[in-house]
């Protein structure tokens, strides 16, 4: 069953110079128990989409969508109150910098206990504080923190970035969410802790059937832990489909360039040779090109590219390009 189904999500910002379209008609769907990666460079609107799903964008942003449903329920129709209730029950999110998103003035244990919803604690009211604490300790054990006594009593600044991120995950899974959105969970971490964290997310996905939306700018780590992949460029959905199929044969020039630019996917590339890179840099939101936003940097751009390409599909593999790399010979 489709958990999340978004069609043509558009996020705009009102500025004195007019509307800026930060996210342009992005479609995204998630099945139960699916892991999907959302890849894009900084400023491509990944975090905006995540925030729009959770509904924490402030009022300056204008969010419109053709379809936005959560478990078959149309989220655009229900009242804000109702919506918050549903999202609060089913979706959890991990933010980019854990040590900044935790409350610096409260002990970690206190914050963790606060995140456990009442209905998950079975017992009489006088047993609740005790049960709550027990549950918090169990959660910490689940995310791989053994030394719960010390951790519960420390403040976020006393803990390392990796431990903070684990605490954030513990808080996120406290309510048994159906969907976990991880917004760049590993940017602040070292490579060994990163691997640990991804394994942790993968195990929750397998054991509890929790769907994971993994947002990152590092293609290599996302590719290793997800089944499906969506690639964003400048707020436009560029390509989406099965991860392995896409890595093997990308249809869009941007995905192609992204894969080529990572040495990991080029094992036969000799060391010290130049990497493949698109010329130029990402345009700022004030100066977006019309039509396909990759246009000015694209190696195969032609006259038609000033019109925004519509999302096309080829067996479960969606791409939006007028001139996809469809030829079967691998370039």
């Amino acid at each position: 069953m489709l958990l999340l189904d978004i069609k043509n999500l558009t996020i705009e910002l009102e500025t004195p110079e007019g509307l800026i379209r930060a996210v342009d008609r992005v479609s995204l769907s998630l099945r139960e128990g699916e892991t999907r990666g959302l890849v894009g460079e900084s400023g491509s609107g990944k975090s905006l989409i995540a925030k729009a799903i959770v509904g924490v964008l402030n009022r300056r942003w204008r969010i419109t969508a053709d379809r936005f449903s959560w478990m078959g329920q149309d989220m655009l129709q229900v009242s804000t109150e109702q919506r918050r209730k549903i999202i609060g029950r089913d979706i959890a999110m991990i933010y980019q910098e854990p040590s900044r998103s935790l409350d610096p003035t409260a002990e970690v244990g206190e914050q963790l206990e606060e995140a456990i919803p009442n209905h998950l604690l079975e017992g009489h009211w006088w047993q609740k504080p005790f049960l709550r604490k027990k549950k918090a300790i169990a959660l910490l054990h689940k995310v791989g923190i053994r030394d719960h006594q010390n951790i519960m009593q420390s403040y976020p600044y006393q803990l390392s970035e990796g431990i903070c991120q684990k605490v954030m995950i513990a808080m996120a899974i406290a309510k048994n969410p159906k969907l976990l959105i991880a917004d760049e969970p590993t940017t602040a971490l070292e490579s060994t802790t990163q691997a640990q964290l991804f394994r942790l997310l993968a195990s929750f996905n397998q054991l509890k059937g929790m769907a994971v939306l993994l947002i990152s700018h590092e293609l290599e780590s996302v590719a290793r832990y997800t089944q499906n992949l969506s690639v964003l460029y400048c707020g436009q959905l560029v390509e989406s489909g099965d991860t392995t199929a896409m890595l093997k044969h990308p249809f869009h020039p941007y995905t192609h360039a992204l894969i080529k630019s990572v040495p990991e996917f080029q094992p036969e590339l000799p060391p010290k040779t130049p990497l493949y890179a698109l010329p130029g840099s990402i345009p700022t939101l004030q100066h977006l090109p019309i039509g396909c936003r990759l246009g000015p940097r694209c190696p195969n751009a032609r006259k038609e590219c000033v019109k925004t390409p519509i999302l096309d599909r080829l067996q479960n593999h969606y791409y939006s390009c007028h001139f996809p790399l469809l030829s079967r010979d691998d370039t």
């Binding site: 990572v262 060391p271 130049p274 698109l278 840099s281």
Partner: protein
């Protein structure tokens, strides 16, 4: 050919006050390596393994307790900053935050030249223009403030600030980690090109093993202040000896 940079038995320890007693923390112990012109040495290790301490010792922010640093065969007192900042330059992790937001790029580059060289105004202007061009920036970029640049251009500006004194060695402290993949590819290409043309040597401090394998000739793995593994990159990747190195390589592949 004598090596550009030769480090022998470098050690550094800090003291931490604990009540009346002082606790000794060893940050680096007996580190030795050599770096030749136009070569890249990668330094890999977890946080707290002494990577940043080593970088600080090499640019002279900290003084070593014992050991010797030799530049092209000459033993040097590296903390004599005025004398050696021409040779070794440092690039920080976050280009955006390491630049002064109130200063135009041209002004910033001019300051570097004014403090460290004897060029007059006209020569300085020519030098700035040449450096900007070398890094693929335009002349009018000298009139820009740092916030007007995109991430990749900022990294180029940071490079310009380092390269304007024609250094022999560039220390990149996690300078490539936070960049987006396509941007990183651009900067890597630029660095490789500069190395090829100008014979620059790089000391790359990073966590990204893929990148290490691609651009470095030699590598040094630090573990708790000591040398865990060192040698040619291909050798270390083929047969790591220390347990930590094995773990690191396994986690990356």
């Amino acid at each position: 050919m004598s090596a550009l940079l030769e480090v022998t038995e470098l050690s550094k320890s800090y003291f931490k006050q604990r009540g009346l007693t002082r606790k000794k923390i060893i940050a680096l112990q007996n580190i030795s390596f050599t770096l030749h012109t136009a070569k890249t040495l990668a330094i890999v290790g977890e946080t707290g393994s002494g990577k940043s301490t080593l970088a600080k010792l090499l640019v002279g922010i900290e003084k070593p307790d014992s050991g010797e640093i030799r530049l092209s065969g000459q033993p040097v007192e590296i903390s004599n900053y005025k004398k050696y900042n021409h040779v070794i330059r440092f690039i920080f992790q976050d280009a955006g935050r390491s630049l002064n937001p109130l200063q135009k790029v041209g002004q910033m580059l001019e300051d570097v030249l004014r403090f460290s060289t004897i060029l007059d105004i006209e020569q300085r202007r020519i030098k700035i223009r040449k450096t900007l061009k070398q890094l693929g920036l335009l002349d009018e970029h000298a009139e820009y403030y740092p916030h007007m640049f995109s991430g990749g251009q900022l990294q180029r500006v940071a490079l310009a600030r380092a390269l304007i004194l024609d250094p022999k060695l560039l220390i990149l402290d996690e300078a490539l980690t936070a960049l987006d993949p396509s941007l990183r590819a651009q900067i890597v290409n630029l660095l490789l090109e500069l190395q090829h043309k100008e014979g620059l040597a790089y000391l790359l401090i990073t966590n990204n093993l893929q990148l290490v394998r691609h651009i470095s000739d030699e590598m040094l793995v630090l573990y708790q202040g000591g040398m865990a593994d060192s040698g040619l990159t291909t050798d270390v990747f083929a047969n790591p000896t220390h347990d930590y190195t094995k773990k690191l390589i396994n986690s990356a592949f």
